[in-house]
């Protein structure tokens, strides 16, 4: 699984499911401070990415992610 695929999938989920504006999805964007998401959104983001990419993400992983880059890095360690 390439990082490009992960980033593209994440972008699609953020736009489609969380109604984030495309121009807000930039490197270093913080889910909670920049994208108006919260802890429940983080759990559902984990569930959706897990389904899309068939990786081993768990609800507790939601506590580890703060930024798009951190999340992509986490997924790459499980891929």
């Amino acid at each position: 699984m390439t990082e490009e695929l992960v980033r593209a999938t994440l972008k699609e989920v953020l736009i489609e499911e969380f109604e984030v504006e495309e121009d807000e999805i930039v490197e270093g964007a913080n889910f909670f401070e920049d994208l108006d998401m919260d802890s429940l959104d983080a759990i559902d983001l984990i569930v959706m990415m897990d389904k899309k990419l068939n990786i081993d993400l768990k609800a507790e992983d939601a506590q580890k992610i703060r930024t798009i880059d951190e999340f992509v890095a986490l997924i790459m360690t499980r891929a």
Binding site: F18, D36, L40, D44
Partner: protein
Amino acid sequence: MNTRRVVITGVGVLSPLGNDMQALQEGLESSRSGVVHVESWSEYKDFNTRVCGLVQWDDYKVIPRKSRRSMGRVAIMAAKTMQDAVADAGLSEEQISNPRTGISFGSTMGSDEALFDSIGTIAQEKTFIGQNSMSFLKFMSHTVAANIAAMFKIRGRNIPACSACTSSSMAIGIGYESIKYGMSDMMFVGGSEEAHAYNAGIFEIMAATSTRYNDTPDQTPRPFDTERDGLVTAEGAGTLVLEEYEAAKARGAKIYGEIIGYATSCDGEHITTPSSEGMEQVMRLALDDANITPDKVGYINAHATSTPKGDIAESHASYAVFGDKTPISSTKGYMGHILGGCGVVESIIGLISLKTGLLPANKNLVKVDETCAPLDYLFEHRYGNHDIVMNNNFAFGGINTSLIFKKIEG
């Protein structure tokens, strides 16, 4: 005991006949039907009804995403009517979030769609993996009240009223009593229901759905008519803003009417079979609460759902209280049975009646069932000069409600 007067100062509604009071009034006056043929229900085996009253509205993005994410259609529609009612009443954020401002909302179920999406997988695959955090918040019993409270930053009392077909009439009663007896100064009240095959299916199991008019949906349901063959489920939502009268008057609020009487009581008998005695009792209790005699009521909006037993029982209860001189109609003939939302939508029809004098006809009533009591059934629209209306609703569990509204002069 010192009590306070309670008035209605804001209205929001989504119904199969239209999505504001004006559209609802025009739908009634033109005798339009909001019942349509639903072909997609044919995917269910041995399920025969194909008619449902549907709301033509899906502009979900008027509800902010963070509020909407935990709402199914049932709560989204209610939230939309809350938005409209708050705007109609012209309220500030401070008034809405005052600790003495509360809410009461109900529905028969939470979101059926969310329930189906979630529970089926859990039951079959015996795992919770893959479930998101929002499903339960969409289908839990008090999803409407909980979501509206969070979205509008309600700080006062929140009493969900989930009692099937009396959910929203009971919510209005809870709001009325909260203000009347001094626990709150303002209450947002109402209810909602979303259309789903499940709602119709549970009634079909009990042989209570309409199945003979699938190709002529505007001809069903037919409350009190000899040719009625069961109820038609529907969706819809409504919100009323209730305020203490003196405060409403002081701020120059537009006043739709006053709630002068409410009662809820229980049959304490059969879980589904309606009791004429229980219906009669709740009407008499509401009249007592309003401190009026039956002859003062100028129009009765009946619950009558077009089931064989229910319509007969209600007609005899109405006759026992009112005799045969009070105009009566069930407006379910126009839109079907909104279940948890019917009480508030039918109360709004009562407010339309107070404002315009409209006594809406029983749509689809051609010949009254001979086993129904002799009442002043409205066969055509009439216009009266009445100033008091009653709205009755009855639910599974023998739960009954009766509300009485009065025009405010000046």
